[in-house]
Amino acid sequence: MTKEAKRIDVHHVTRVEGHGNILVNIEGGKIKDCRFDVIETPRFFEAMLRGRPYQEASHITSRICGICSTGHTTASLRASEKALGVELSEQTVLLRKLVFHGEILDSHVLHVYMLVAPDFLGVGSVIPLATTHRDVVLRALRMKKLAGDICAVVAGRHTHPIAMTVGGFTHFPTAAELKDLQEQLVACRADADATVDLCAALPWPKFERDTEYVSLTKPDEYAFIDGEIMTSDGFKLPAENYKEVTNEYLVQHSSAKLTRNKRESLMVGALARFNNNYNQLHPRAKEAARKLGLKPKVTNPYLNTAAQVVEIVHCVEDAINVIDQLLKRGIKFEQPAPVDLGKIGSDGCTGVGACEVPRGILIHQYWIGQDGKLTGANCIIPTNQNIGNLEADMQALVPQIMNKPVDAMRLDLEMLVRAYDPCISCSVHVMKVEKKPVP
């Protein structure tokens, strides 16, 4: 055991979304500090929503994130729709599924290729990757463009959907547009397969730590929109009871609220969905999992990225299926399902919207008054739910790697943070690492 003092202070972690610092201090062979600090400024979206008409809520909360704006929009619409008792048409459900797949693909491709792959391929970012692995980067851009085009065709824009509204859509894709997307998705199968092959060959770090995996689940499909909350420890409960699982709490070193359920921490995201809902994956996605060596329950958090690759295959296939159904039914112009504010009692009403966005369960709960304005809102973001688990992983990992040189330790820890695909918020900072000599 080394007695050398080591300090790893990554401030901030690059190739993740936002401000997060890794701090590890080892003195005399003992771990003094091992933390992941979130130092993001609170953004007060919940307060901003109070007093706004329910029709605006999805457009405001979409801005919480430029990567999962469709996810926030969908969770927001579902919260209002549940509160107001709005029933959706089959066409609306299908179109929402399709645009949601577009966003999952977009985000997963970004994470796998632009943020994670450079670590494995020995480069600092995607730019040198473009020189050394041109075909890999071109493939990523091709897949990302298709994903963005799905969002634009269905919801009117690549980011921050404009055509999604409470009760339905305000714009509809044409059959020709859908057919074109479907042809591109079929062609994208080759790119998805190549993504699986690329990732199956990567040397994923070996590290196991079982935790409580939490995701939505549905009886009839791999859940992305709506469903019950289930955990790998055997609990299942309605999304409305989310607070029993999320149990937000505060710690001094983080501006994000952390969550825990029955254990010290829990994990949400692609790996949790894979572990909980594996049986509902498309057969081609299951085949991808086999190639990647994934079989539930997977307890290596680094493989969250590999689970995203499985979901890329699933979403390509399911998007093809959804377009089939839409084309078979024929796209119809529909007014959004009507809202009757007269039904709201003097106490107002409340509803919970739950979705599986790329990084895990996203909950929006709204309280709406008789005038249709929000009197309260609660938004629970996946990254918050994962931070406690990420720290627990770091604390389990550091003793296993503390004999490595500081640079190698730092890379292991950064890759662990990136595996969670945290989305903290936008910023750019330089990283700093010190190796202190023994006094």
Binding site: R15, E17, G124, S125, I127, P128, L138, C423, C426
Partner: protein, 153 residues
């Protein structure tokens, strides 16, 4: 004057004050008379997607707010060869890169158009807000005219 197919691309975020100057400039250009081989588009903040915007054009004109050390509202035309694309490793940590990052990616992929021309206008403030500063507003007509002159019949 060149007659090759040319894309004039406005870059920037109109929600961030003068960062939206490039967008406002191409909106004015789109409402002006330009020859048929010239196409005007708003790209917003395209990030990695910049490659998709520019790769199939022999000539691209990029209009953007650029910090050049000039007075706010002053503008300048320069060719790709005249400037260094500043996209250091340290700045590439975002989910999406800035213009320099997007161009650097296009360059690394060997997908840069043969000719890239920049029209940069010096911003005064890029704080949140949907208004351009008076200085940039005053500089815009000259910038737009400069671009129109480049394509005058």
């Amino acid at each position: 004057m060149t007659r090759e197919r040319t894309l004039i691309l406005g870059i920037g975020n109109p929600l961030m004050g003068d960062d939206g100057a490039g967008i406002e400039a191409v909106r004015r250009l789109a409402a002006s008379k330009l020859p048929g081989h010239v196409t005007v588009r708003e790209a917003g903040t395209p990030g990695w997607g910049l490659v998709e915007w520019i790769q199939d054009w022999p000539s691209v004109v990029i209009v953007d707010a650029v910090q050049m050390g000039l007075q706010p509202g002053e503008w300048q035309r320069f060719d790709a060869g005249e400037v260094r694309l500043i996209a250091g490793e340290g700045t590439l940590s975002l989910h999406e890169p800035d213009l320099a990052g997007g161009l650097a990616l296009a360059q690394a992929l060997d997908l840069l158009p043969e000719r890239i021309t920049f029209y940069g206008i010096e911003p005064k403030s890029t704080d949140p807000g949907m208004r351009l500063s008076p200085a940039v507003n005053a500089g815009l007509p000259g910038l737009v005219e400069g671009i129109l002159n480049e394509f005058a019949q």
